[in-house]
Structures are given as structure tokens and as C-alpha cells.
Symmetry: C2
Subunit: 354 residues, 2 copies
């Protein structure tokens, strides 16, 4: 306790308030003026003060269990990246008594999402990180979560009704507008522009619907344009998938394709390459290994980076900050809509930020 007392005195001195005030802030008891609270928290942030961190870790051995609910990483390299972010956060926080348990559901199966979410509820974790990709199925889950006091953080997909501790991701409506802009850019010949959803049931996938909405509204705002906008929902499990996709790509009026998922981007690129269709512009998602290959060979023109790894690891960090350090977390943490090209992709891979 000597350690702690000394530090409280230091903080008080730096913040220009009394020791009692710092004590009240730290233990969240009694009244503190907004000015004093601001000064104390500013000092704590500046010195990166983590109250009782070491004492708690070595002494009380209070452990926190975080449940991470996301699609099976084996089904999709996008979710493999999210999973990687969680694994990294897990390693980083393990020595502070944070356990992260994975709860994986089938990306293509809503009932699997529901079942797994119930398992999370029954496991009574101290915090939940969740990617609620199915809107209608997610709503009752959040009602269930709210019955408990367990804090939950959303990533990837935001659901307005969820009222989470924090949402980490991107503005997907605006993401669709960026996709439209990149597809439209410098296109002078009239023709067809396609939105392509591969691999998921769009009717219940909020994140894909939001992207399509943004995409379409971009062109509506442009007024009279020379393009026909079409959309396709293709399921790779469908026996006619190859035929459908080839037929779409063989359309000579097709000027560009916006693919709403990262895996779908690679699939579409492989078909464009096979068919030798190099004049059709392709805009898709994420710096995944396969997408990078097609970006470098010029089949993919632009990628919008969703940063799945960082979304997930930051989600765990927000929960740890809330549980362990009682730090406030931002209600929404929106990542910039990064435009990745053949010439700037390496600068992203080499950068410390990413």
C-alpha cells in the first residue's frame, strides 16, 4: 500500500488537487467537482497510471474472463484476421489474469449464431466481444445480455439497438459510398456497374445492406448518370455459382464491380483473371494475402481496408480497460476508410500503426 499512497500524493501534486480528491476519483466514491475530475484523469492519462495494476496481478489474483463471439476463422480469411487480433490481445493480456475464450459460430448459419450466443450467456463471462452479423437474430441476444451486468463490445457490425459499451468498426454506409466513388472515378463510357454480394445471406446481413445503401445513394446523389446499377447475391455453395458469375462478367456492358466482402473480392478477381477481363474495374475489401496478389497484378484496382485484426484486438483492449483499469472507453471507435492501391499497399504493411 505504500506504493499506492505515494503515487496518490504524486498525482495530487501534479493535478493541483488534494489527496482526498484523488482518492475519491480512484475509488469512485464521494463527490468530486467536474474540474477536479478532469484534472486528475488528465494527469492519470498523461502518466498512463494503471491503478493497482501490479498489486492486483500479483496479489488478489482477480482474473477476468472475456468471451469473444465471432464466425469460425477457418471459413473466411477475413475472420481469420479478426481471430488473429484476438489471439494477439490474449497473449498480451494473459499475464494480467485476463482469459479470452473463443465462441465460434458458422458464418452461413443463423441458428449457429443464436446457439453460440446462448452459450456465451450461460458461461457468465466478465465481458463480451461480439460480431453481431445477423441483425434479427442479434436483437434478442442483446436483450439477454442486458439482463446481466456483463459489458459487451461490438465489432465489425454496429446495431443501433444494442447499446453496447463500445462499437469498433467503420461507417459501412459511407464505406459503400467510397466503393461507389472509386468505381465511378474516371469512367466515361456508359454501361453497367454491379454490386456483388458473395457468400452471405444479404437479407439479414446488416453490414452488407449498409454498404449497398451507401453505394446506391452515391449514384442517386449524382443525379442523371450513364450507368445502370445492378446487384447480385451469389452463394458459392450453389451448383450454378460458377455459371452465374461467369455470365455476369461476360456482359460486355459491364464497366466495374463493387464486391462487398473481402473473400468475395478474391473470388471475383480469380474469375476476372481466368476470363482475361482486365478492363472491368474491381473494387473490394481488405489487405488479405490473396487480394494483395490481385492488387499487385492489376486485377483488383482498389481495396477498402477494414482492418479486421486491429478491430478485434482493440475490442479486447477496450474491455480490459473497462474491467481492470476502470478506464472510460469511447462509445464508438470508427476507423478511417482506408483506400489501398497497388502503389500504397506496402506503406501500410510497413507502418507501425497497422
Amino acid at each position: 500500500m505504500v506504493d499506492k499512497n505515494i503515487r496518490i500524493k504524486d498525482i495530487a501534486k501534479l493535478a493541483g488537487v488534494s489527496v482526498g480528491t484523488v482518492d475519491r476519483v480512484l475509488h469512485n466514491r464521494g463527490r468530486v467537482s467536474p474540474e477536479a475530475l478532469k484534472k486528475v484523469t488528465e494527469v492519470m492519462e498523461q502518466i498512463d497510471y494503471k491503478p493497482n495494476l501490479i498489486a492486483r496481478t500479483l496479489g488478489s489474483n482477480k482474473n477476468y474472463r472475456i468471451a469473444a463471439l465471432l464466425p469460425d476463422p477457418k471459413q473466411d480469411p477475413y475472420w481469420a484476421q479478426s481471430n488473429l487480433g484476438i489471439t494477439q490481445a490474449q497473449t498480451e493480456w494473459a499475464q494480467y489474469g485476463i482469459q479470452v475464450e473463443l465462441f465460434l459460430f458458422d458464418l452461413l448459419d443463423k441458428s449457429s449464431f443464436q446457439k453460440t450466443a446462448h452459450q456465451v450467456y450461460l458461461a457468465k463471462p466478465d465481458g463480451i466481444l461480439i460480431a453481431p452479423i445477423f441483425y434479427h437474430e442479434a436483437l434478442p441476444i442483446f436483450e439477454l445480455f442486458r439482463e446481466t451486468d456483463i459489458p459487451y463490445v461490438l465489432f465489425n457490425t454496429n446495431i443501433a439497438e444494442a447499446a453496447p459499451l463500445s462499437f469498433i468498426g467503420q461507417n459501412l454506409y459511407q464505406s459503400g459510398r467510397v466503393g461507389a466513388e472509386l468505381l465511378h472515378f474516371g469512367q466515361h463510357e456508359p454501361g453497367t456497374l454491379a454490386v456483388l454480394h458473395i457468400d452471405e445471406d444479404i437479407h439479414d446481413s446488416v453490414h452488407l445492406l449498409e454498404k449497398e445503401k451507401g453505394f446506391r445513394e452515391y449514384f442517386q446523389d449524382k443525379g442523371k448518370i450513364n450507368f445502370t446499377i445492378i446487384d447480385f447475391i451469389l452463394n458459392p455453395k450453389d451448383p450454378s455459382f460458377n455459371n452465374q458469375l461467369e455470365q455476369l462478367l461476360q456482359d460486355n456492358s459491364l464497366r466495374g464491380i463493387f464486391v462487398s466482402t473481402s473473400k468475395g473480392t478474391a473470388v471475383t478477381a480469380s474469375f476476372l483473371e481466368k476470363l482475361g477481363k482486365r478492363d472491368i474495374r474491381l473494387v473490394g475489401y481488405d489487405i488479405l494475402e490473396e487480394n494483395m496478389k490481385y492488387l499487385k497484378s492489376g486485377i483488383i484496382d482498389f481495396l477498402i481496408n477494414q482492418n479486421p485484426k486491429r478491430q478485434a484486438s482493440l475490442g479486447i483492449s477496450h474491455l480490459v480497460n473497462h474491467l481492470m483499469f476502470k478506464k472510460g472507453t469511447p462509445g464508438t471507435d470508427l476507423f478511417p476508410l482506408e483506400v489501398i492501391t497497388q502503389q500504397n499497399v506496402d506503406s501500410y504493411l510497413g507502418s507501425g500503426i497497422h
Copy 2:
């Protein structure tokens, strides 16, 4: 000292080494095995341990003086952003006894750079942050700095011979390649593409030469293309500046312009708007207020973000980390080459990262 002893014990326990080992690492004396050093520094990084921070601040009152050498912010909104980053870092670190003193030189006057750099040398600061935009004039300055033991950090412009503690900025050669790519993208009509340097003496401006080199090599790598690449160096102080720029923009074969500076981007955009030339593509630099206006109105098509504010504030932080916390700093800290468009610019302004 009680505080410190307790913490050393904690660190030893977390790292699984002896207290003596931690002590040797902290005071940089005696022999420590590489494995032990690694373990201890990892623990210190994880708990963000800042040795003696508070004790030093409140007790010994050791102050550090950092000199920041950059062009006068009044001359150019780009450097105003850098200056803002320095001012913010100054405020943040002031209470820890860090003083930042500005040494401003005339952006258009090499001798002013030399004179001001000598003033920095004579002021004997504890650390130097410098934007060495004039190559030939900077070389003897770094020789001078090296005679002392003062650590210096470069930002904006890298100079290979400088051997700084750290360089913060971007790969400017690659930045020119990104500019070329964005100008080339979707251009089908043959014509002229122009590189435009406004406001600086390119013959000695390393950063502009690097951008032009990258720009030209992008097109060389493409082999046979339908474009003539021209470059222009225009000085706004020149009485014929307006005429020269208008003449260039009136050229009907002109398809696109790559402007190498942020201020030049806004100037070029204002001329394009005035002349009603909306079909000429414009690629330039930085999310400055005026550039954003032209990006939103569609005159500017793409901006490459150099993040001047963050470059400068991170430069101060690197120096503080080195001086105060004896933390290692990265030798180069290269920011990603962010592509900013009408549709994604707001996501950058709202994001916590920027």
C-alpha cells in the same frame, strides 16, 4: 525511494528475474544477459513503466530543452500544421519539465535555414527536431550537430547522410509513384500529364525531387504509354506566375496534374475552378482546409495525406522518450501513404488515430 524499490520487485517477479538484474537494466550498469534484458524490457513496456518519472519531475527538477527547427508556419498552412503538432506536444510535456523552443526559418531562403540552424547549435539544447528541407545546406549542419552529443530527429524530409536518432515521415519516392498511379488511373485518352512544383526551389528540395523521381519511374515501368510527361517549376513571387499557370491549364491536351506540395495543390485548384476546367484531374497533398473545400467540390480528385501535425508531435515524443525515459526510438517511422477522397475524408477527420 520506497516507491521505486517496490516497483523493481514487482518487475522482477513479472519478468521472472532477480531484483539485481532489474536494477542493472534500469541503471544500465553491469552485465545482463540478452534473455534477461529482453524479459525485463518486455515487462516494462507492457506495464508502460517510466522509470523515476514522477520522482524526477517533482524532485530533481531536471528540465530538458528541445529545439524545433522548421519553416515559418505563417508562410504555408502545411508548416502551420507541423507547428500545431509541436505546440500540442509542448503543452502535453510541459509539466514534466520539457521545454520546446521554436526556431523558424524562411521557407524560401536557404541562408535563413543555415543561420537558424546555427542558432540552434549555439543554444545547446538537449534534443533537436529538424525539417531539413534544403539538402546541400543541411549536410554541414548535421556535421556540426554530430560534434556535440545532442540527439536529433528528422521529420518531413529524410537525408541519408544525417544519421539521426530517428526519421519520421513518408517514403517520398513511393509517394510520387502513388501520385502517378492516381493520375493515370482510368485515363484512356492520350494527352499530357504534368508534375507541378509551386513555391520552392526544386533543385535543392530533396523531398520534391524524390516525389518527381517516383512519379516518372512509375510511368517508365509502364513501358509504352499514351502520355507526355512534363514538369513545371513555378514561383508565385514571379510576376508572370499567373500567366504561366493559366497557359499550362489552358492546354487542351492536359489530362491531369500532380502537384508536389499542399499549398501548391490549393493554388492550382483555385485556377482550375476559375478557368472552369473540371475535366483535368488534380492529385495533390494534404487535408488542409482549403484543399478540403476543393476536394468536396470535385476540383481536387485525390489528396495524399502526409499528416504533418502527427509527424511533428511524434518527433517531440521520440525525443522525450529518448531523453527522459531512455526508451529506444524507431530509426525510421514511416507513415502510410493515405489516399484521401471526397467520400472518405470525413472518416479521417473523425478518427481517433488522426
